[in-house]
Amino acid sequence: MNIRIVKDKAVKNIFLLLTVSSVLLVVLIFIGLYYKSVPILHSTSLSHLLFSSEWKPSKAQFGFAAFIAGTLWVTLIAIVIALPLSLLCAIYLSQYAPRRLTRFLNPLIDLLSGIPPVVYGVWGVLVVVPFIQEHVAPHFVEYSSGYSVLAGGVVLAIMIFPLIINILGEVFANVPKELSEASLSIGATQWQTIKYVLLKKSRPGIVAAVVLAISRAFGETIAVLMVCGNIPESPHSVFDSCYPLPALIANNYGEMMSVPLYDSALMFAALILFVIIFLFNAGSRIILNRLERRMN
């Protein structure tokens, strides 16, 4: 047989192997987490684990509701803050900004996404937390330490901001310029063209950007851990402290062997996080497919 063809086959199979093993890795992580969670699943019912917020590891009380709520709240706040801002920013950069400005701003935005999370965390502690404590919270609640859902959301929003802008930039750049020209040539203004053509055409891409940003936000640990207060109670307002799942795992990983079932509980926390992200991605995949089908 020709050596060329052998090579071709080999390359194809190697790629297949690589693809399969990366998928397999995900499955293995799931199995590993599940296996480690079995002890706690045996000792406590699933519904109690998910819906109770009793958290007393020393008394073998493990309810994750507060942590799940903390994770969801912080992520929600982050997206609510980051999405409109980054959408407007991406629209400005791709549609209005002169090239001199984008040439200067784009590297800055890239830089923003390269800053280590712990730096954002420190900045959150030094700036965001005191600001919320002194200037924001007093208008709404009697007392807040500033270490709060809102602080976590703000810090996280700033962290996912460059990610969303970058993806949206790509998405907008992929809309053919002739499409905008078609709208403009009818006498539409730039803004009408953006609203009715660009954003409409980009909708699947915008959804995809949000999905990626949320997935990233779910898992972000250090920065959030530093500003959220880490109190294992369900927050009643955005000015309350909370304790997201990744923070729980990171904070207690060192001592998990000293308390019975604690290690299993933390593995279960990781499993919850895994399942949330998995379900979330699967759900958005379905939405995306539907959007794309409707457009073509």
């Binding site: 002169p98 020209e181 073509n296």
Partner: protein, 254 residues
């Protein structure tokens, strides 16, 4: 040479993109309610010239435009010229059809809505009228609300024409509008142009000489960013005065 009232009047137009001098001292009067074609080898600046007419060119970076383009006597590049009403005067057909990401109906209703028509009945009438005038109505009347991208390329191009007509332009600009189409669709577009020229001024870019001959009243031959020759179709094609034009028509330059 041409004594008709000009609809578009170009005076000493120079266009630079970056450091390249793309259009060189172009002056031409495009007559009212006639078909004028620009012919010339690819890269000679036909698209660029067409885009100066509806102010789409200056959206690009690094473009410098000098000189005047007058439409109905109004200078497009004047200091406080408002562009949307100028663009509204001109329908645009591009090389490939680009239907907007919405239904067939909404594609046609897009322009009228943008310009303030909200009345449902009026919109329905407009949509039907323009689909009929582009011979699309019978083909699409049962699926007005399905996405325009599901139409064939030929139908899409006619839809784009109808979309442009729906804002009642005076001028139709076509940049090689049939280059992506099959022969039958091409023929239908050409027939539409012939019908439209009683009411509109048509400016057509084409690299197909036979097409230019079939549809146009006047032809301008452009070479390397300059207008080499401009005249009545038959005169220019059968009896060119410039050597470059002769060479191009004989197929020596392409």
């Amino acid at each position: 040479m041409i004594n008709l009232a000009p609809h578009i009047s170009v005076k000493n137009l120079n266009v630079y993109i970056g450091d390249a001098h793309i259009l060189k001292n172009i002056s031409i009067d495009i007559p009212d309610k006639k078909v004028t074609s620009f012919i010339g080898p690819s890269g000679c600046g036909k698209t660029t010239l067409l885009k100066t007419f509806n102010r789409l060119l200056d959206r690009q970076n690094d473009v410098r435009i000098e000189g005047q383009v007058l439409v109905d006597g109004e200078d497009l590049y004047g200091k406080d010229t408002e562009v949307t009403h100028i663009r509204k005067k001109m329908g645009l057909l591009s090389q490939r059809p680009f239907p907007l990401p919405m239904s067939i109906y909404d594609n046609i209703a897009y322009g009228p809505r943008i310009h303030g028509i909200k009345n449902k009945k009026k919109l329905n009438e407009l949509v039907e009228h323009h689909l009929r005038s582009t011979a699309l109505w019978d083909e699409v009347k049962d699926r007005l609300h399905s996405p325009a991208t599901r139409l064939s390329i030929g139908q899409q191009q006619r839809l784009c024409l109808a979309r442009g007509l729906a804002v009642e332009p005076e001028i139709i600009l076509g940049d090689e509008p049939t280059s992506a189409l099959d022969p039958v669709s091409t023929q239908r577009i050409e027939e539409l142009f012939l019908q439209l020229k009683d009411k509109y001024t048509l400016v057509l870019v084409t690299h197909i000489l036979r097409q230019a001959r079939r549809v146009s009243d006047y032809i301008a031959f452009i070479y390397m960013g300059e207008i080499i020759e401009f005249g009545l179709t038959e005169e220019l094609l059968l009896n060119p005065k410039e050597q470059l034009t002769k060479d191009y028509i004989k197929g020596f330059i392409s």
